[in-house]
């Protein structure tokens, strides 16, 4: 189904959506853009000129989430907020990342109900990137600025209107009241998409990356890569595909909670005996890179990175993930 959503009608369309669901959109607070529930009306409430800093995976895997509450001597599961949500303005890289994480949380013999329920009640209206950023590298990891996998609706900006393509039943339900797109408009959107894709430089090619990285497992390469690394959690917490979490009993709250965790912290794998299979930043950095670009692919058939570029932008030590992959290939 392909419809058009005129920019002039955007605010009223969102207001209509807000009758049935909470609409999340990128909201700017000074220099920081983040996905917030819209409380007001009008185009001024949200911003579409930059992606969020904090990844929208937080809408399905909150950074801190109470799993259970104490009830006598038992633990009762915490009922999350299961109201309908629409996430407007999510970028293809982030929508695709949520789809990859479905493989982790719902694709095996165990289904994570906390993740799955939120996914079931949320519709993703993605805004494709007609003007990709310099730090974006989605095309290098098998995705692209208009990759609609993971999105219920994909919007392409062709000037006065968005061409809106719905690929799922949820998406079609959302667009049903809109006008059909003309062939001319559909062509214009294909053109915009092709131009955006062509404009992106690919910093590396992924062919054989798994073999390359496995081949470097015992190499000095990792020592060199990790030297400037501070071992903080910026790259992992801002990453839309990172999913590691810790489960902690916060006795003072009477809750068993889970929080995002990172393989970059020293205590991540440390055992009660004191033994740590990843004792230094060398092993931890190797794990970080190999999990993304090798192991994830073996588990879920796709590289665990959608090229959003947040790690490149926000690493406090200026480490560039794209550069690491490139170096691994020239080294290996």
């Amino acid at each position: 189904m392909i419809k058009i959503l005129p920019k002039a009608d955007l605010a009223t369309t969102i207001d209509q959506w807000r009758v049935e669901a909470t609409v999340y959109a990128p909201v700017r607070q000074e220099e920081v853009v983040g996905f917030q529930p819209l409380t007001g009306s009008g185009n001024g409430c949200f911003t579409l000129d930059a992606n969020s800093r904090y990844p929208p995976k937080s809408l399905f895997l909150p950074q801190s989430e109470a799993l259970f509450r104490v009830a006598g001597s038992d633990l009762e599961p915490v009922e999350g907020d299961l109201s309908e949500r629409i996430v407007f303005g999510i970028r293809p890289c982030d929508a695709r990342a949520c789809q990859l994480l479905d493989g982790v949380f719902a694709g095996t013999e165990y289904t994570d109900p906390y993740w799955s329920e939120k996914r079931r009640h949320t519709t993703l209206v993605a805004l494709g990137c007609t003007d990709p950023c310099e730090t974006c590298f989605c095309t290098a990891v098998g995705s692209g600025p208009f990759d609609s996998r993971g999105a219920d609706v994909m919007l392409t900006d062709i000037g006065e209107v968005y061409v809106a393509q719905a690929d799922t039943a949820q998406g079609e339900a959302l667009l049903s009241r809109l006008q059909d797109a003309s062939q001319e408009q559909i062509d214009a959107s294909s053109q915009a998409q092709a131009e955006a894709r062509a404009a992106m430089a690919r910093p590396f090619e992924l062919d054989g990356i798994r073999e390359t990285l496995y081949g470097l497992f015992d190499d000095e390469f990792w020592y060199d890569v990790q030297q400037p690394c501070l071992g903080c959690g910026v790259c992992t917490f801002l990453c839309p595909t990172c999913h590691c979490f810790d489960i902690v009993d916060e006795a003072q709250r009477g809750e068993r909670v889970r929080n995002w965790d990172t393989c970059m912290f020293q205590i991540y794998s440390q055992e009660a005996s004191g033994h740590n299979p990843r004792p230094t930043n060398v092993e931890r950095t190797r794990q970080r890179i190999m999990h993304k670009y090798a192991y994830f692919g073996e588990l879920y058939d796709e590289v665990g990175c959608t090229g959003c570029g947040r790690c490149v932008r926000y690493c406090p030590a200026g480490i560039d993930m794209r550069q690491i992959i490139r170096s691994s290939q020239s080294r290996g």
């Binding site: 220099e31 920081v32 904090y54 030297q227 903080c232 801002l238 916060e250 909670v257 932008r313 030590a317």
Partner: protein
């Protein structure tokens, strides 16, 4: 700036060739012109990649904790790094004899995010910059699309504008011309502004900054003074700060970390530069620094060999409880 980089390179090469040090910690160009990376040179022939410019935003002293104590380390240091190192030495983290300080007078670190905004480069635009050049009061960014001439004053990092110690102290060698100690803004400007607020306003201001915190601990890792192998925030008994990104946990994190910096913080601002969520936090440590100055006449890194104030007890301590 280029002359300075050349001088650093020459000194680094000499130190390595003459086996004075095992490693020189400095900066090298990353893949992005506005984001130089800390670099570790172990061979005189490799120092050609060493660079230095106003975008070198990391406090290199934090890497001392990540090297082996047996290593003899040469380290490029500006005012803040050299003062931090004085504290680390007084806390017995390193032997002074094992360090060789290459002093660099500092004209202030440029905030790449401000530069991106000033140049109107749009999100991710900083990555379009192919080269930078600093000429006096101006910073020139060259991109494929054109050149952008920025006023240095407008893109300096906030902490650097208040810096009272741009010239390094206690160095083994100092390169370049002294920068002079005239801070562009009053040293205690942030503290004064905060103290002018009512208690309610202060609390709101603190809460608003802390709200964005994602407990990534980039501030901690970027800080040379945070070297504890087990950080208080990971303790379960007692639970000083709850693990969740709730106000309770996050406020405890910020406040306790600030207090752990008392008498140790060199006001370098590396914490703020590392923060991915643009959180301001130096107003807390600035306040503690001023308290130390006013109450104990103590200034971080001002005197070589000054003992750490909170680990030193004398018979004529002004506090009775010690005796």
């Amino acid at each position: 700036m280029d002359e300075l980089a050349q001088a650093i390179r020459a000194e680094a090469a000499r130190l390595l060739a003459e086996d004075v040090v095992d490693v020189v910690i400095g900066f090298q160009a990353g893949s992005l012109a506005l984001r130089p990376q800390p670099a570790f040179f172990t061979d005189a022939s490799g120092v050609d990649t060493l660079i230095y410019n106003g975008f070198c935003q990391n406090n290199l002293a934090t890497y001392l904790a990540r090297r082996s104590r047996e290593e003899r380390v040469g380290i490029v240091c500006r005012g803040c790094e050299s003062r931090a190192i004085r504290v680390l030495v007084s806390e017995h983290r390193h032997d002074r004899e094992g360090l060789y300080l290459i002093g660099i007078p500092c004209e202030g670190i440029i905030d790449w995010r401000k530069a991106e905004r000033e140049a109107g480069l749009g999100p991710g635009g900083f990555a379009e910059v192919l080269s930078v050049s600093e000429q006096g009061d101006e910073v020139l960014l060259s991109t494929r699309r054109g050149e952008y001439r920025l006023q240095r004053e407008r893109v300096l990092h906030d902490s650097c504008k208040r810096c009272a110690y741009p010239d390094p102290v206690g160095t083994d060698i100092t390169l370049g011309e002294p920068a002079g100690a005239d801070a562009r803004e009053p040293r205690w400007g942030l503290v004064d502004a905060f103290e002018a607020l009512s208690p309610e306003e202060r609390y709101q201001s603190f809460v608003q900054e802390a709200e964005r915190c994602i407990r990534c601990y980039a501030c901690r890792e970027a800080c040379p003074m945070c070297y504890c192998t087990e950080c208080f925030v990971d303790y379960t008994t007692p639970r000083w700060a709850e693990s969740m990104i709730t106000p309770s946990g996050t406020h405890a994190w910020h406040i306790i970390r600030a207090f752990h910096q008392t008498g140790r913080c060199a006001s370098c601002g590396a914490c703020e530069r590392a923060c991915p969520m643009d959180i301001k936090m130096t107003y807390l440590t600035d306040k503690l620094d001023r308290d130390m100055l006013e109450q104990y006449d103590y200034e971080v890194g001002a005197a070589e060999g000054a003992p750490p104030p909170f680990a030193t007890f004398t018979l004529d301590d002004q506090d009775q409880f010690v005796r």
